[in-house]
């Protein structure tokens, strides 16, 4: 009732007073308690209790009726009315009912005088009635206007929530009108930018501009709209995907006078779509633009407005839903969450977003994402909620599929890697015997030369088998992406020669010549992971020897300082294979020819592992081959020449091996740890690092080491306290040698350190041979036999 004042109605009231020559006139609206003057002339108050209202009596008349009181003092209904007996002294009243189209009486347009009148003419009555009719029209218009304004506001909110804007192009002027959302999408300020057609076109990607211009020209010529998806470059440089829909407006001359339509930033959808298309072609249906349902929901849960799109989503017409509360359509298990969101918003939370299911008319459930936004009344109190509901069933189905696929893949990978790990374990036990007894046999005195040669072959073969076992583990690690590449300086030519030597017995028995073709550019130390390179070489040379009946296997290496590529190739004079089959070789678990595998043995995993390893090192692997002309397997890896090589590792003599010595390196400086690692990995040590004394204690509590290299001064906990704790707590390392790793210890200080409990002192800057001999002295890895027993061999 208390709607804003309306200048048109104010003018009508003035006109009524004038026509009737009355000092007072009002448009009066009445509810159960009071009379309210929407417009008034000559009256100070704007509300009157209904009990004192003249107009209240008029409301009992038929629609469009007129009530006339010539002298209120003579009328029993009004003679005691405070406005009659009081200062105002009302005598004459004439009110024409304001009746709407349905015949409801809303109030009156009335004139009032302080002097009684003898009568009113028919002309006066019909004039007042005519004016009253105009007031009603005006009130109607205002209601419609307010409804429109509210609808526009609703649309605006929906636009900003769903990211859809609207635009209009005036063909005659070339002027373009953008909604705020479109300004936002382009990243320009509505205050300072007023686009013309050319400006709008210039935002598009240069490749897309001709497409847009062609569409525009076609629309102007044919009057048919269009729908396109192009790229727009924002003022901040960001490229966005946008979808625009255009409809033509036809002028009175029958030609296109304007184009208008909607505009949406669909970058997220396009990105999502690309991702989706990559995984599943069948989800192409997503190319259809998402359409949202918009609803206005009162705080009591009823929905006075639902957009027609609901029919597509739920199968109901909007009016069919009017009688139900919104919760009715939410899947039962999602109602508590929805109720919670509503409560929070009724208490003032501005926004909420929920993914939930809704119930279709035919009973099936549909996944939707509902975004809620609170709208407040002019006093700032929560008034109602705007809901934008999006069908996400496709995304959900995709997510579910992907989850299932991922789980299945993970399960299968786990089974496979568990199988490989177990198999490698089963192979390690017999290998222990083979290698161990071969070693024992060789240590027998008076062993004939021929027997020594046989034992060497057994050892070679068993080491090759050990490599295969390790390959299996590596394969499962490659599958899981867990292979770590550790580079160190390596004389690559020596590595290649050593690999060829391994196959000499096999090659010699079958009339195959093994040849190393090392280019002078490869005669350096290179920064590579020698273990991984050796593994690839073993595979490639092993295959070449295996598949060549007679002739030659050539291992060629070359380094290109320009590209930094170290290229390696293995060429054989074997049978060769056709190009198309050659490409299958590197696939995991693929077999060119089952009979070949049966005849030659092997896991068939070798080349797949090589490919994985070479790629993990950043390189590339391939093959060229022709049936009858042999094969050439090649790979390259990026590397650099090492100009200053560290002191060569101390050569290990006889049976003494540092292989597998486990060293815990404790230092707060990463460079010191790295240097120690570089030297120690060279002698086959396994390194674990800790950054301070506390970390060292933690590692020492859970893992057995053979020796600990301990820096003295470190933050958190120094080396002295760490030694004390490791020695005093019962654990796998409480008797393990601990070497002081110190920058400036003189001879006296060294003695103090030994007195404190350190087993030896390794000084910084680090010296490879000093470090290695200190570890050799401290651990029993240097000696064949336990020191305290003496040499019993």
């Amino acid at each position: 009732m208390d709607t804003p004042s309306d200048p048109a109605i104010d003018r009508i009231v003035g006109l009524a007073a004038d026509i009737m020559d009355a000092p007072m006139a009002m448009v009066s609206l009445i509810d159960d308690e009071r009379e309210w003057f929407k417009a008034r002339v000559g009256v100070e108050v704007d509300t009157v209790p209904r009990s004192q209202s003249f107009c209240a009596f008029a409301l009992t008349l038929e629609a469009h009726g007129v009530m006339v009181v010539l002298d209120a003092t003579l009328d029993p209904r009004f003679r005691d009315n405070p406005f009659v007996v009081g200062d105002l002294g009302v005598r004459f009243y004439m009110g024409a009912l304001l009746s709407d189209r349905a015949g409801n009486n809303l109030g009156t347009l009335c004139v009032v005088d302080t002097l009684p009148r003898a009568g009113v003419t028919d002309a006066e009555i019909s004039r007042l009635k005519a004016l009253a009719a105009i007031v009603v029209d005006e009130l109607d218009r205002a209601v419609i206007h307010r409804g429109l304004a509210e609808h526009r506001r609703l649309l605006g909110m929906a636009a900003s929530m769903s990211g859809v804007g609207h635009w209009r192009l005036d063909v005659a002027t070339g002027h373009v009108l953008w909604s705020d959302e479109i300004y936002r999408i382009h990243g320009v300020d509505p205050e300072s930018f007023d686009p013309m057609l050319d400006d709008a076109v210039s935002f598009y990607h240069p490749e897309d501009r001709p497409i847009l211009q062609a569409q525009l020209a076609k629309a102007l010529a044919t009057g048919e709209g269009y729908e396109i998806q192009l790229r727009v470059q924002r003022t901040d440089g960001a490229m966005r995907n946008v979808a625009a829909r255009a409809t033509c407006e036809i002028g009175t001359d029958g030609r296109v006078s304007a184009l208008f339509g909607v505009f949406q930033d669909v970058t997220d959808q396009v990105t999502a779509l690309r991702d989706t298309e990559r995984s599943r072609a069948r989800y192409k249906v997503l190319t259809e633009m998402v359409s949202d349902v918009i609803a206005r929901i009162q705080l009591d849960g009823t929905s006075p407005y639902i957009s027609p799109r609901i029919k597509t989503l739920l199968g109901y017409e909007p009016h069919e839903m009017a009688g139900h509360r919104a919760f009715h359509f939410v899947a039962e298990h999602d109602r508590p969450a929805m109720l919670g969101a509503f409560r929070a918003m009724a208490e003032g939370q501005e926004e909420a977003r929920l993914q939930h299911q809704v119930v279709h008319r035919d009973g099936h459930l549909i996944w939707v994402e509902t975004r809620l936004r609170l709208v407040r009344d002019p006093e700032g109190q929560p008034s109602y909620i705007v809901a934008v509901i999006r069908d996400i069933s496709i995304q959900k189905a995709l997510e579910d599929d992907l989850t299932l696929a991922r789980e299945a893949a993970e399960a299968s990978a786990m089974v496979k890697s568990e199988f490989l790990a177990n198999m490698s374990h089963e192979l390690r036990t017999p290998l222990t015997s083979i290698i161990g007894f071969a070693g024992l046999t060789r240590s027998q005195p008076d062993l004939p030369a021929i027997a020594r040669d046989y034992v060497d072959r057994v050892e070679h073969a068993s080491r090759a088998l050990l490599c295969t076992v390790n390959d299996l583990l590596d394969f499962s690690k490659l599958e899981a992406g867990q292979v770590a590449i550790r580079t160190e300086p390596c004389a690559i030519a020596d590595l290649c020669q050593a690999t060829l030597d391994l196959f000499a017995p096999q090659a010699g028995s079958r009339d195959i010549r093994l040849r190393l073709d090392a280019h002078p550019s490869a005669a350096h130390h290179f920064l590579v992971d020698p273990d991984r390179v050796r593994q690839v070489l073993l595979n490639l040379v092993g295959n070449a020897v295996k598949f060549t009946a007679r002739g030659e296997v050539t291992l060629a290496i070359e380094h290109d300082p320009e590209t930094g590529r170290l290229s390696v190739s293995v060429t054989d004079t074997g049978d060769g294979i056709s190009e198309d089959k050659a490409q299958l070789l590197f696939r995991r678990f693929s077999q060119i020819d089952g009979s070949m595998t049966r005849h030659h043995g092997g896991t068939g995993l070798g080349l797949a592992i090589c490919k994985g390893l070479v790629e993990a090192m950043g390189g590339e692997i391939g093959v060229t081959s022709r049936p009858g002309e042999g094969s050439r397997f090649w790979f390259w890896i990026p590397t650099s020449v090492v100009t200053s090589t560290p002191a060569a590792p101390v050569p290990v003599g006889r049976q003494v091996s540092y292989g597998g010595v486990r060293v815990l390196v404790v230092d707060d400086h990463a460079s010191n740890r790295e240097l120690a690692r570089l030297f120690l990995v060279g002698i086959g040590a396994e390194i674990t690092e800790a950054v301070d004394g506390e970390a060292a204690c933690a590692r020492a509590a859970e893992w057995p080491f053979d020796v600990i290299l301990m820096d003295l001064r470190m933050p958190v906990m120094d080396g002295f306290e760490a030694l004390r704790q490791i020695r005093s707590r019962v654990g796998p390392n409480d008797t393990v040698p601990i070497l002081a790793f110190t920058a400036d210890s003189g001879a006296d200080d060294g003695a103090k350190l030994l007195e404190f409990g350190f087993d030896d002192v390794v000084s910084k800057p680090i010296d490879a041979s000093q470090l290695i001999s200190a570890i050799a002295r401290a651990t029993d890895f240097a000696a064949d036999l336990p020191g305290f027993l003496g040499n019993a061999n």
Binding site: A421, S424, H425, R428, T429, P430, L431, T432, S433, I434, I435, G436, F437, G439, L440, S462, L466, L473, Q655, V656, S657, G659, G660, V661, E702, W703, P704, D706, L712, D718, F720, E721, L723, R724, R727, S728, G731, P732, D734, T735, D744, S745, D749, K752, L753, F756, G757, T779, D780, F781, A783, D784, L785, P786, G787, F788, L789, G790, A792, N793
Partner: protein, 140 residues
């Protein structure tokens, strides 16, 4: 003369590994004894009271973990320094063995030097545990 102090119990279900380790240790001067499975390992450990034990993890019936925990239950007074043998370097296995009191591990296959160095580690004793950190040493 071999003394009890050099008695080592080897438990492995694989005869090859058992004999190899026994031979290696005998050559090195130790007094090796063997057990073919976990059950036997527990019995012999209680009877023999070895100075050290080399224990395979993967054995039928009672595995290495079982041996470690049964010995803790049945004979808490004998604390045998133990080296476990694992077919694969599984960090979970090693951590579990350490938690059950093992002092070291050896991955199959192993070299003679690795075996002997780790066994020697089991016999290493320390009496001096520093309790006070000297100021002058900190100043180094």
């Amino acid at each position: 003369m071999l003394t009890d102090a050099l008695k080592i119990l080897i438990a492995d279900d694989d005869a090859g590994v058992r004999d190899l380790v026994r031979t290696r240790l005998r050559i090195a001067g130790y007094d090796p004894h063997t057990a073919k499975n976990g059950r036997e390992a527990v019995e012999r450990a209680v009877k023999l009271r070895p100075a050290a034990m080399i224990l395979d993890i993967n054995m039928p019936e009672l595995d290495g973990f079982g041996v470690l925990s049964e010995l803790q239950d049945k004979a808490p007074d004998i604390q045998v320094p133990t080296l476990v043998l694992t077919g694969r370097q599984s960090s979970d296995d090693v951590r579990m063995a350490v938690a059950l009191g093992a002092r070291g591990y050896l991955t199959k296959p192993f070299t003679e030097a690795q075996l002997l160095a780790r066994v020697a580690g089991l016999f290493r004793r320390r009496n001096i545990v520093p309790t006070i950190v000297h100021e002058d040493i900190i100043e180094i």
